[in-house]
């Protein structure tokens, strides 16, 4: 695909951007990209993690959603001057549909950082985006709230107008324990910690709530409408508040719906106290406190597979790290053996393990959230990938990564670039033996995600040796000690035990 920074002058004339300040107009012209997609191109896949916001400048884009049963339906269609992608740009959530260019399309693309800037500081832009979000996606998003799961689309639509959007910076208290709870809160993006004061008055961590989690359902129950915990933002967080009074008013003529909601709220309240775990379906359990606790404290992952060393086999020969260095031109290793240890008792495999310090593709990727240049994306498998063109080597992702897996390569050295390897100067065989051969730039990929180039002065992390017929660390371990492994394989048992211990008998 063609990707350039050239702007069509009409972008600023769109109603969406008509009231931008001079500064934001400059940002828009400077950083928005124009991309051209031939007819028939799937440029976003369902399930792919993206934070881009798209405006159709010409052509037609259709969004296809494939349901679990395999049925595919047209979710929406976008023509000139219409936009989409606000849900992913706001919440870093996987794309809900596959987006296909039905006709040759020209799209303006605002990366996550630019979108967030406009959304946070340009009130008219925010108003228009929120309006469209409210009309188009809110009903679908509300389905995430367990309380509202059973409601049909029509009923959910009636709730749309009552919803209130709020943005909170890091460390804001959204709700304090003991205070009157009067709304149900859906976390759109970011994350919260949930703490409770024990009887001794000690603040104890009770769990985490990430994007698409909700709380406050018990506010619907009479006499039990106090916050049971304190909810504090772990990072800049967007929430959606549904006032309980508004819910009651909207459904005032439909007591059976209020009854049903109360019943569900009671179940959720019990769930919150560790009584019932059967309420959430498989997809939702990804976000249960237990999983998140393991994820945060045991450095487990959601996307991809962890790189695990079996300590019963590893002779600490360092072949994994050396092989990693050998296949990357910049000489920077993408893994470190210095990682979290998991005892034999603490995992389902019954082996002493070490989770190497290699990209975990976290559920809430700190690197992606801290990158203000749109240089980090997730693919449809949840793997974090760099967009080298956008990386300026600012090291914000290095700071944002909680596991210290991102490193910066040395900036380009003109003298070194001019020098040739002594191996390549060998007569006849030199060019075949030189390990640097083959690093010449190769034409970019069709969506520009994986432009092939020598990475200098930029952030790097494990790329799973893409393009090579092996994953160097795994391939070259003489003892077969290092393996890619699904965290579910490692932690399922522990999770099960944790859940079992947490469940108490109902009073």
């Amino acid at each position: 695909m063609d990707s350039s920074e050239a702007q069509t002058p009409s972008l600023l004339e769109l109603p969406l951007f008509s009231k931008l300040t001079k500064r934001h107009q400059t940002s828009l012209v400077k950083f928005a990209q124009q991309r051209v997609f031939p007819a028939g191109t799937d440029f976003i896949r369902q399930g792919e993690y993206t934070s881009d916001f798209f405006i159709v400048l010409s052509g037609i884009v259709t969004a296809y959603r494939t349901e679990k049963g395999g049925k595919t339906e047209i979710l929406d269609q976008f023509s000139e001057n219409e936009w989409f992608g606000e849900l992913s740009a706001l919440s870093n959530q996987p794309a809900m549909a596959r987006y296909k260019a039905d006709l040759p399309c020209v799209l303006a693309v605002l990366d996550g950082a630019l979108f967030q800037e406009l959304y946070s500081f340009a009130p008219d832009f925010k108003k228009q985006v929120d309006q469209i979000y409210r009309e188009r996606s809110l009903a679908q998003h509300l389905r995430v709230v367990p309380l509202l799961k059973g409601l049909d689309k029509g009923l959910l639509s009636t709730l749309r107008e009552a919803a209130r959007f709020e943005s909170h910076p890091k460390d804001s208290v959204i709700a304090a324990q003991g205070e009157r709870a009067s709304e149900i809160v859906l976390v759109r993006s970011g994350g919260l910690s949930k703490t409770r004061k024990s009887v001794q008055g000690v603040e104890e961590l009770a769990g985490y709530l990430m994007a698409n989690s909700s709380f406050g359902e018990w506010a619907l129950l009479d006499g039990e409408g106090d916050w049971k915990s304190t909810y504090k933002t772990l990072m800049p967080t967007e929430i959606l508040a549904l006032p309980v009074a508004a819910i009651r008013e909207i459904f005032s003529g439909q007591p059976e719906i209020i009854d049903r909601l109360r019943k569900t709220a009671r179940l959720i309240a019990a769930e919150d106290q560790g009584i019932d775990t059967s309420l959430y379906d498989v997809e939702d359990t990804q976000s249960t406190d237990e999983q998140l606790e393991i994820m945060v404290h045991s450095e487990s992952i959601k996307g991809g597979e962890a790189l695990v060393i079996d300590l019963e086999k590893c002779v600490r020969c360092n072949a994994c790290v050396e092989s990693c260095v050998a296949v990357h031109e910049d000489g920077v290793p993408r893994l470190s053996k210095k990682g979290k240890r998991v005892s034999a008792e603490g995992n389902a495999l019954g082996k002493e393990l070490s989770l190497t310090t290699s990209c975990y593709s976290c559920e809430t990727p700190g690197c992606m959230m801290s990158c203000t240049y749109g240089a980090i994306r997730r693919d449809s498998h949840g793997l974090i990938r760099f967009v080298w063109d956008n990386c300026v080597g600012c090291a914000e992702c290095v700071k944002g990564c909680p596991y210290d897996v991102i490193r910066l390569t040395a900036p380009p050295d003109p003298e070194a670039a001019a020098a040739t390897s002594w191996v390549s100067s060998l007569p006849l065989i030199g060019k075949f033996l030189d390990p640097l051969q083959g690093s010449a730039p190769i034409p970019q990929a069709d969506r520009g995600y994986h432009r092939e180039q020598v990475v200098q002065g930029k952030a790097v992390k494990c790329d799973r040796c893409e393009g090579l017929p092996f994953e160097a660390c795994v391939y070259n371990c003489p003892c077969g000690a290092i393996e890619r492994m699904s965290p579910a394989l490692i932690f399922d048992q522990s999770l099960l035990e944790m859940a079992t211990n947490k469940i108490e008998e109902p009073q």
């Binding site: 596959r98 086999k313 050998a326 210095k338 083959g438 077969g480 000690a481």
Partner: protein
Amino acid sequence: MNTTLFRSRHSLLASIIVVGLFVIAQMGGISFGRGPNSDRTFILLSGWTALVMLLVVAAYVLRKYAHRGGYSPEKALKVDHASLEVAENALHRLQQRINSGALKTPALIGSEARKILKNAGIQRVNRVLVEPVLAGDDAWTVRMVPTEPLGRVARWMHVHVFYGTAFGAVLLMHSGFIPGSAFGWTLAGLGYIVFFTGLIGIFLWARGPRWLTVREHDLSIEEASALYASLGRKRAEAISVFSPEVAARFNQLGGGSGASAGQQQVILDDILHQLPDRRVEIQDLGALIIQEMLVRQELRALQRVRASFMAWRIVHIPAALLLTGAVAVHVVSIWKF
């Protein structure tokens, strides 16, 4: 204990070769090496077999170090990311067809997926894996995995272990218990050194990691190493603000100085006496140095454990290199003369 080191089909093949040669010798009444009942054909057969085994065993070493040095021949197969992305997109569409029920059997899915990889030109780099979404499920998911064309080094390790062990036995049959010449003694001697250190190595590599893991209860060797380096940097930074004379006194406190706890206290008191107005700073630095020393002790202890199962290579590797050279001379001399 790493029992996977002992589990390989190569063990069977290596055993068959050794037992086969032994049976041939027994049935023909042939004595090993040069002796009254020696047989030229058997000597040649066992010699060539030992040589082939030695080459196979050496191939593991070449392969391992070629890979670590970045000279793997597989690197030539590298494909550009644009082709990978083309395949990824096509596989994604295939997955949607699978989800919609258009493709139901793994064979059909695999065949379609292989076509995609071939069209994208990445079939030599990636292969397809068709798996049930859940065990026993009839919903399928397709993904790409690396082809690993020459097999993992861990498999080559099995080759090294089993043909290396068999080499010892074949060498005995080839040379007999008493080699006839000084060169014969050299060859056999080196061969047995390599063989026995190799056997020790197999045992130690199977057991040793456990010893280290148990010892690493507080700090892993990697963490200790990183922590030691970090404390060293902090110490150097903190010392740099003092005069060279005081810095030299501080350096006498360090882990490498061999100063006892008593001597350290004397040095610290001495510095405090010289610079009473910088008491807090000096005490902090003293604490840092002692912490560095403790980490160094821990690191050394861990390194000793690691050395206990890695040290066999100090003998094994040079002896193996000498043996290879001596065998080359032996083969050429037999061939020529």
